[in-house]
């Protein structure tokens, strides 16, 4: 009896062990890249953030000084505010806008749906530098297309607006451009999600006299929830990564109104060579992102 128990336990342990080995063998190639080139640099990032690290000399240990300076740095707080603002504004708008577009174009003919899907995807696949240059031209104060439309065609503006040079509008313009480069994938996803919605349920609801609005909220929306959550995740990632736009258009100006953490890290690290300071900022950002991801993920699992 006892002997049997032991051999059973042994066998089970062996099986568990086998499964562990197999799992890690499957994970090995990924872990090599992940540990070596994501986790290790992350660890180094935390480590260097306690040093006064710059070009051309040995790093000097300074404890928490970088973090103390950071919390007293006005621009850091502005950058943090702007970064969160971009995320908070662009994520829901991207989701809502792409769902709206998807709901309209999914009712069109197959060819039209496909064509629109491509068009909305174009800014994602066209190189960011050139697209940004075109936007810069469109926002131009002197002969840009927006001022031309607003002033000469529609007559809404009595004088041209320096869109990217005005604190009130600059961040809005950045968010607008960011939107055009990020709705492509959500639209593709929503179109397919709408296709996959159980049609019989919708029809049944319509027979019961539900308006299309009601049908949408009561039937389609819950079925698209997983897609929406996925889109929330990728759009949040995308919004945090917004960097090239700032670098190419405003350098964080005017008056830091478009300064984001991403750009501020880059500025400190590559313009002022304050590597330790830049890393400290990166650590704070990583913590914020980790918390946000955890919340999003928890919400996703509960749903």
């Amino acid at each position: 009896m006892v002997k049997n128990q032991v051999s059973y336990n042994n066998r089970q342990r062996r099986l568990v062990m086998q499964e562990n080995i197999a799992a890690y063998l499957f994970l090995l190639p990924f872990l090599f890249f992940f540990v070596g080139f994501v986790l290790y640099p992350m660890f180094m990032c935390v480590y260097t953030s306690f040093f006064d690290a710059t070009m051309g000399r040995e790093d000097i240990f300074i404890g928490l000084d970088n973090y103390i300076t950071l919390f007293q740095d006005e621009v850091f707080w502005i950058a943090l505010k702007n970064t969160l603002l971009i995320v908070v504004v662009s994520v829901p708008i991207t989701c809502a806008f792409s769902m709206w577009v998807a709901s309209i174009i999914s009712k069109m003919s197959v060819a039209a749906t496909s064509a629109f899907r491509c068009i909305f995807y174009l800014p994602v696949v066209t190189g960011s530098v050139a697209v940004t240059m075109v936007w810069k031209w469109m926002f131009n104060n002197y002969y840009g297309i927006f001022n031309y439309l607003g002033k000469d065609v529609l007559g809404i503006l009595d004088k041209p607006i320096n869109w990217l040079g005005d604190e009130r509008y600059a961040l809005g313009c950045i968010i607008l451009i960011l939107l055009t480069t990020s709705v492509g994938q959500p639209i593709v996803l929503y179109v397919s999600a709408l296709d996959n919605v159980d049609k019989s349920l919708v029809e049944a609801a319509e027979v019961d006299g539900a308006t299309s609005m009601q049908a949408f909220w009561k039937i389609k929306w819950p079925q698209m929830m997983p897609t929406t959550l996925y889109i929330l995740v990728i759009t949040t990632i995308n919004s945090f990564q917004c960097f090239a736009l700032i670098q190419l258009l405003t350098s964080g100006g005017p008056n830091n109104s478009t300064m984001t953490i991403m750009y501020y890290i880059y500025y400190n690290a590559f313009k002022l060579y304050k590597y330790g300071y830049g890393n400290a900022m990166g650590v704070i950002l990583a913590i914020i992102i980790a918390i946000l991801s955890a919340i999003q993920f928890k919400a996703g699992q509960e749903k």
């Binding site: 562990n20 890690y24 100006g253 005017p254 008056n255 002022l272």
Partner: protein
């Protein structure tokens, strides 16, 4: 089970240690070897290494045609005809990303052997950080008298072998100024404004002639900020930095009043969305009637798009204008390999010593030589026109410590001025803030 975990942990540890130790080796190697080798090789002649094949790298910023492959290849062909054993690998930089690239290369232990740029980077930045080779042994005494001080670091070492220079000025659309009757306020011979007051009169005249935008104070970034610095300090009559290049001094009552006058002037716009490149583009296409950033290369680059007569000008001043110079030349990075340093020195000497070769080197930049070069000006008629600005060259203060951060403070200051009420007091306060931050950076 525990064994596996232990194994994996050990593996991770080994991987990270390997990475760590490799980093250390890479980083410490040049530092420990460099001084010893420099001393040892100080006495040896270039001849010793002349036969062994050496490959060196040369990184160039867009200084005239120095990023034009055909031009560079012809210069290299000349060099290799004499020194076939030295291979020069050229990489081309741009001003938007160039600094980042050099900095990452330095950080990655892959700095180039030769960089072609100016003292603000070679001397005040990389030189001051101890990354460059002292070139005083190959700079002939007395040859570069006019510029050598700017090429010398605070430690007395020469970090740049100067090649060419230019005087940065501004430019006006002569056709428009003529039509507006504004040419009376300036002197076309000396390329100067009669007075600061006349400059404002001219702007007003052009504005009244129906040109809403006469000129723009661009401050969307650091690109071409030499123009706004020179404009404001010349109109105000103040200085930008002290003569010792240890501190910034632009927050003065005069400079603030000068900027306040510009702020109030019709036709002068503050634009926080553009940098010099955009301002020049707007000047070329006729949106602006003057550009506060201009030199001979801007005229050459835009030759096929310019539909009017450009008149280069000095900045308006009540005394002699103090114009910004640009000095470009070669700097050699200390990568710890004596053979490469010698080869790099050989290359830059070849490019700048013999008159005939030096002429080619300078011609490629479109700028003017930094030493006596007989018969040079006949080469390009435009150079003769632009050289009228040369006697007004002022202090080369771009080597003041903390320069990189000071540049950012400057354009940020202009952005804040733009959203202020434009009074001299408000402007002075903003200037003071920027100056304090810059001086803090200068102090280290």
């Amino acid at each position: 089970m525990k064994k596996i975990v232990a194994l994996l942990l050990a593996l991770a540890l080994v991987v990270s240690m390997a990475a760590c130790s490799a980093t250390e080796v890479e980083e410490t190697q040049p530092q420990t070897q460099a001084p010893a080798q420099t001393e040892a090789a100080a006495g040896t002649e270039a001849a010793e290494t002349a036969d062994a094949p050496v490959e060196i790298s040369l990184w160039t910023y867009p200084i005239g045609k120095w990023t034009d492959e055909a031009t560079i290849q012809s210069l290299l062909a000349d060099f290799n005809a004499v020194y076939p054993n030295i291979t020069v690998k050229v990489e081309y930089l741009d001003y938007t990303n160039g600094d980042d690239k050099v900095n990452t290369a330095i950080e990655g232990g892959q700095a180039p052997d030769i960089v072609m740029e100016g003292p603000e980077r070679l001397v005040a930045n990389w030189g001051a950080k101890g990354l460059m080779v002292d070139l005083s042994d190959i700079v002939p005494e007395g040859t570069y008298e006019s510029v050598i001080a700017s090429c010398t670091g605070t430690d007395g070492a020469v970090y740049e072998l100067p090649v060419c220079m230019i005087t940065h000025g501004m430019a006006i659309n002569r056709d428009v100024f003529e039509a507006a009757g504004a040419l009376q306020y300036l002197n076309e011979e000396t390329l100067t404004w009669n007075s600061v007051e006349d400059f404002f009169k001219a702007v007003q005249a052009v504005y009244d002639a129906g040109h809403e935008y006469v000129g723009a104070i661009y401050c969307g970034g650091q690109g071409g900020d030499q123009g706004t610095r020179a404009l404001i300090t010349n109109i105000g009559g103040g200085t930008y930095a002290n003569a010792e290049h240890t501190a910034y001094t632009y927050a003065s009552q005069e400079n603030a009043e000068g900027l306040a006058k510009l702020y109030a002037q019709d036709g002068i716009v503050f634009d926080t969305a553009i940098v010099a490149a955009d301002a020049i583009q707007n000047f070329v296409n006729g949106t602006f009637q003057m550009s506060f950033c201009w030199n001979i290369n801007d005229e050459l680059n835009n030759a096929d798009a310019l539909g009017f007569d450009v008149l280069p000008m000095a900045f308006p001043s009540d005394t002699t204008p103090s114009l910004q110079m640009g000095i470009w030349g070669f700097g050699v990075f200390d990568n710890g390999d004596e053979a490469k340093i010698e080869a790099a020195k050989t290359f830059i000497q070849f490019m700048s010593q013999d008159d005939a070769q030096y002429t080619k080197t300078v011609e490629a930049t479109n700028f003017t030589p930094v030493r006596d070069l007989p018969g040079f000006e006949t080469v390009n008629p435009l150079i003769t026109e632009y050289s009228a600005l040369d006697p007004m060259q002022g202090d080369y203060y771009q080597v003041t410590l903390g320069w990189t951060q000071a540049r950012t403070e400057w354009w940020n200051m202009l952005q804040r001025v733009n959203s202020s009420d434009g009074s001299a007091e408000a402007i002075l306060a903003e200037m003071q803030t920027a100056q304090d931050a810059s001086n803090a950076a200068a102090a280290g």
